[in-house]
Amino acid sequence: MNKINLKIVTPEKVIYQNDQIDQVSIPTSTGEITVLPNHIPLVSILQSGEMVFKENGQDNYFALSGGFLEIKNNSEVVILADNVERAHEINVERAEAAKAKAEEQMKEIKNREDVDFARLQAVIDREANRLRVGNKYRHLRKSE
């Protein structure tokens, strides 16, 4: 009974859904939090980082960036993220290339509009996070 019902959703689709989760660790703007069943209701803002949840004693890793989360009364955790990816599904090479491209654009437009600047910074953050998480769990990808 004491399990978490976890939902991970992006604007484009439902990434993951399972109601047999033992614990979740989520990066939020006020630091990483770990949620156990029967957590009190909470709404918070997500930050780029690594999310881990335990299911049947096994750890699952995700890279996520931007968005918010809600913990409801009945051990329901909803994560509304802009970008979510399973750690071992991250294409490290592509993340590297994307980051390099964004950084290059950043140099070019340094003196232009703030909006573009913020957007590129977000892209760089996201790709850096993907890279970090992707590299960390590279072994998971190979073992499959």
Binding site: K7, V9, T10, P11, E12, K13, V14, T28, S29, T30, I40, P41, L42, V43, S44, I45, G67, F68, E70, K72, N73, N74, V78, L80, D82, V115, R119
Partner: protein, 317 residues
């Protein structure tokens, strides 16, 4: 007679090659439509959950945010979502007709509901942002003030396509350039039914959001509504309600725009599919009729030849 049958033959050939093209376009549109409809459905989950959070937030004491500010309307921004390409039946003309109707009566758009009171303003100015080439062309041609146009959307728009629009809109609303933002799009009901719609995006009003969500999927909503009456004090906001709202509200606007774009693309492809199916059907009918005419002409030629030969033989005797 021989000349006539040759002409008919040529027409049959041209009609059947047109039919091949329309048939192929129908297939392409059908597969694109399936994808677009899938994406539109998937986005609904996010919209619903984001809305849930907003409902929970509304239980907290009022927070003042520029995005929630309702003010008398002087300048309106209309985001017109159309397709980039033609050959999709009355898809574009429907949405453009609907939009131009309200563009001609700008004061109707100026009606604003401020805390229950209906407020009307005169001399409302309207600017148009065109999403899709057809809408932008329309605004340009008819002398409306087209401030921006986005014509590089993919077949199934994603968040990255929407972000430039939503950021621009949010910024301009916060800077009070516009007092109201409306999106005009085609709502996808089914493969054969689509309706042109105008929807208010900003200021964020509860009624509109509720409408949007009931439209999105009434079954889903009803299913998951065992209303748990949580006490306000039970809810924790980290770091605080204000900054949570600051992240949630722009996302809601983005989601609404994304939803509009997705619905519109699903509608576009199904409209195109139907138009192409009609064209193929018409081509089949036309070919049948032309075939009949061709056979008649051929038979007439044969009969005439026989009559001529018989006549010639009779003259010799």
């Amino acid at each position: 007679m021989a000349v006539n049958s040759k002409v008919i033959k040529r027409r049959i050939k041209s009609v059947s090659s047109t039919k091949k093209i329309t048939k192929a376009m129908e297939m392409v549109a059908a597969s694109k439509m399936r994808r677009a409809v899938d994406t539109a459905l998937r986005t609904r989950t996010y919209a619903k959950l984001a809305w849930d959070i907003l409902v929970d937030l509304s239980k907290t004491p009022e927070v003042k945010l520029p995005l929630l500010e309702v003010r008398p309307v002087k300048n309106v921004l209309v985001i017109l979502v159309t397709s980039n390409r033609g050959l999709c039946g009355s898809f574009n003309s429907n949405i453009i007709k609907k939009t131009s109707l309200s563009l001609k009566n700008p004061d109707n758009l100026g009606v604003q509901d401020i805390e229950g009171k209906i407020l009307k303003t005169d001399n409302v100015k309207i600017d148009v942002v065109g999403v899709g080439r057809k809408g932008a062309d329309f605004a340009k041609r008819n002398g409306y003030n087209l401030t921006a146009s986005f014509t590089t959307f993919s077949d199934t728009p994603n968040l990255n396509d929407i972000l430039p629009i939503s950021q621009m809109v949010l910024k301009q609303y916060e800077e009070r350039v516009y007092d109201k933002v409306v999106v005009a799009y085609t709502d996808f009901k089914s493969a054969i039914a689509q309706t042109a719609k105008l929807k208010q995006v900003l200021p964020i009003s509860k009624i509109d959001l509720e409408n949007m969500l009931t439209e999105l999927g009434e079954e889903d909503l009803k299913k998951e509504k065992p209303v748990v009456d949580e006490k306000l004090s039970d809810y924790l906001f980290e770091p605080n309600p204000q900054s949570v709202l600051e992240t949630v509200l722009p996302r809601l606007v983005e989601t609404q725009l994304l939803q509009a774009a997705l619905e519109s693309s699903a509608s576009e492809h199904s409209a195109r599919m139907m138009a192409m199916r009609n064209a193929s059907d018409a081509a089949v009918d036309m070919i049948a009729e032309l075939n009949l005419n061709f056979n008649k002409a051929r038979q007439a030629a044969i009969t005439q030849e026989i009559a001529e030969i018989a006549g010639g033989a009779a003259a010799l005797e």
